[in-house]
Subunit: 425 residues, 2 copies
């Protein structure tokens, strides 16, 4: 198809009519497809069914140190779970806490504790300041933004590219505004853009000189080993922070939600030992211990970091044809038209479609009319406001490749129709 951007008005009008006819046919099919959330598919969940066989009524439920995992105790997690997930994060067990079953809950928790009680090195709780701001690389993860919005933390958009956030802007804002208390980062296979932070971006983040002494990088490494096409290494942020003389500046988050069972795996946290000690004292008010039975189950299932990697190879093999379906449709249907662009992700759970400005909401609406549910336009930005109305997050993991092929036909038709409508307006 010819590039829309080089068409004159009558060519566009003609294209529009043809696209409308085509789109009506999709509507007539009464589809019901969902590309809205980054949920693993049933075939991925089946990879972890043997996890349910690891412990049974004849199992010894003591950990290697002799601790009975069926009883209270060990607030920071059983030692072998701290070791396993420390290895996964590239840090030490003493820098690791294994907590609950969802990293999102612990991120909220860290933010809530910072607001209520403060963080190491701060002179008072964040909530005692007139204003607290957080930097939010966009497009980003809607649930990060919801945490800030709920807690009344003002969010500032930071443009994000394939290589990381706009570091000039980050450095400037962090250095000159002491109400800026932190930044959200998804460093690898970013949610939803799909790039990974360059070495330069990580080093510049680690070397920030914040005006706020209690500034924190919330490093949500949700996709640390979630390669689909290629494992693209990202520098170890805690090591870089130490090198730069900022050992306490970063909180690492991760979970097995997309390794074993979403919301029913284990979550973990990493930081300097001083941060861990400080947070452990705060955690003492909110927990006696988290689910150690499930920690033991995960430790015995994976044995070591190589065991996790073997599992991730299987996830990648399932996800690859799904990403192929999305990317090949975009390539085939959209590339030549100029209607939008995208990063080809090497891993993660998303593809971000960047439409011509002013088209995202219209595309989502059109898809909905044709029975294809997408993440709401705007969800990629703080306060649900994408100032360009351009970004759409596509989540290929849950539908089957065949369903995806169908959904992408609808999506591409909608994307083209919206573009032509826009250019005609």
């Amino acid at each position: 198809m010819k590039n829309f951007l080089s068409m004159n008005q009558s060519e566009l009008a003609e294209a529009k009519e043809e696209l409308q006819r085509k789109f009506q046919k999709f509507k007539d099919c009464e589809l019901s497809l969902n590309m809205a959330r980054g949920k693993p598919g049933a075939d991925q969940l089946e990879l972890s069914l043997p996890l349910l066989d690891v412990l049974n009524s004849r199992s010894d439920c003591h950990d290697a140190s002799g601790l009975d995992c069926r009883n209270y105790g060990e607030l920071l997690g059983i030692p072998e779970a701290r070791k396993l997930f420390a290895d996964y994060m590239g840090i030490t067990p003493e820098e690791t806490i294994v907590v609950g079953s969802a990293s999102l809950t612990f991120m909220y928790d860290c933010m809530a504790r910072a607001m209520l009680l403060g963080v190491l090195g701060g002179d008072k709780p964040w909530g005692k300041h007139e204003k607290v701001k957080f930097l939010c690389p966009v497009p980003g993860y809607d649930r990060h933004f919801t945490i800030c919005e709920t807690l009344g933390i003002e969010m500032i958009n930071i443009p994000l590219t394939e290589l990381g956030p706009d570091m000039d802007l980050v450095e400037k804002l962090v250095a000159e505004d002491e109400t800026v208390k932190g930044i959200w980062c998804v460093p690898k296979y970013t949610n939803p853009l799909g790039g990974s932070y360059s070495d330069e971006a990580v080093r510049r983040l680690a070397a920030l000189k914040p005006a706020a002494r209690d500034f924190r990088i919330f490093w949500d490494n949700a996709y640390a080993l979630h390669y689909v096409y290629e494992d693209t290494p990202v520098l170890n942020i805690l090591k870089e922070c130490k090198k730069a003389g900022n050992p306490d500046m970063v909180y690492l988050f991760g979970s097995t939600s997309k390794i074993t069972f979403p919301g029913a795996g284990v979550a973990f946290f990493g930081a300097s030992r001083d941060n861990v000690d400080f947070i452990a004292r705060q955690l003492n008010a909110q927990s006696i211990s988290w689910d150690k039975i499930n920690m033991l189950r995960h430790v015995r299932f994976f044995r070591d970091a190589a065991g996790i990697r073997a599992q991730m190879d299987k996830h990648a093999a399932i996800l690859r044809p799904k990403f192929d379906a999305v990317l090949s449709a975009l390539e085939r249907e959209i590339a030549s038209t100029g209607a939008g662009s995208w990063v080809k992700p090497k891993g993660g759970y998303f593809v971000t479609y960047m439409a011509l400005p002013g088209c995202a909401k219209r595309i989502v609406q059109l898809c909905k009319e044709a029975g294809v549910v997408l993440t709401d336009a705007g969800a990629t930005h703080p306060y649900h406001q994408d100032p360009e109305d351009s970004y759409i997050r596509l989540a290929p993991s849950f539908p089957s490749p065949a369903e995806l092929a169908q959904a992408m036909e609808v999506f591409c038709a909608a994307a083209k129709l919206a573009a032509v409508e826009k250019l005609l307006a």
Copy 2:
């Protein structure tokens, strides 16, 4: 033994010498016993081992509504788990949220959310007030007090008897002071006193007329079916609150920590539907869903509330000889001496020993010297300060009956020695 209180000084001096000799013998035994925490014993944990067989790799992990419990979703818990624990609490599934693996964590969470975001009916978050106070029946549960202390909530001691808190005082403080935002209650087999709230106490609590419009009763029914000798019914607080026109005034908390596995079971919350709706909107910022696999495991293990009761019968049978060991030692060694008193609990996890004023710390210290670890004196009171230095919490559940008998010999000798020392001073 003769009552110490009727001895003259020389009789006391003689008794002291004899008790010292006896106590030295215990020290020579180099015991290592622990009655500090309310942990179930290994034999109790074994009751729940079949829970680990409920789900395996061949299990269908969909709930009755067809929801895949292995994946994200259903923030308030799977319907059958909400039903099971609603029945357990005597409320409806719509009034129930199943959350995480520990009720303590959710209590902290409710308090933290109240501070940060406020509760239904409040005009601002609790944390935006100059001062927030909580009423704390004493003796009480140390971890409740730690939550308040951590969050900067001022605690006010309320005398607790076998029949409940001093309701005259509660009514007065609640009515006249709008900074009083709530009260901690452990209504059944109170931790650690061992009584249960009378119908009158529950009705008067439900009918409170607080100056604060956003007052909340934190109803930690940790021992709802944890009878040891006898199941003593306590009125349903949510029903009573509704009758009294205060449907939103109470939060109910419970968990399976002392039904299945401590910290690795499921926790649940109950409140009016309006409270549940309000809290659900707040929870949306902190979780996508809690561990539904473990919910499913518990639902299939117990089937219904009768299944839970059958399990509790087995717990009671294990706990009874342990409570017998503690109570018979106190009866035999202490009753006639006047050195202290206690409530004979019908259930729960504790016996509270009330020593002569000024003796509790000394008794705990003496026991420690003889290798018997007790909960710190003062732990039963806010800020770790028992103004009378009288209360000691004894936790009989973890040691074996034989160990308990030994530990109680030491305890009773220490209790008598401390009493005589005090009377001589």
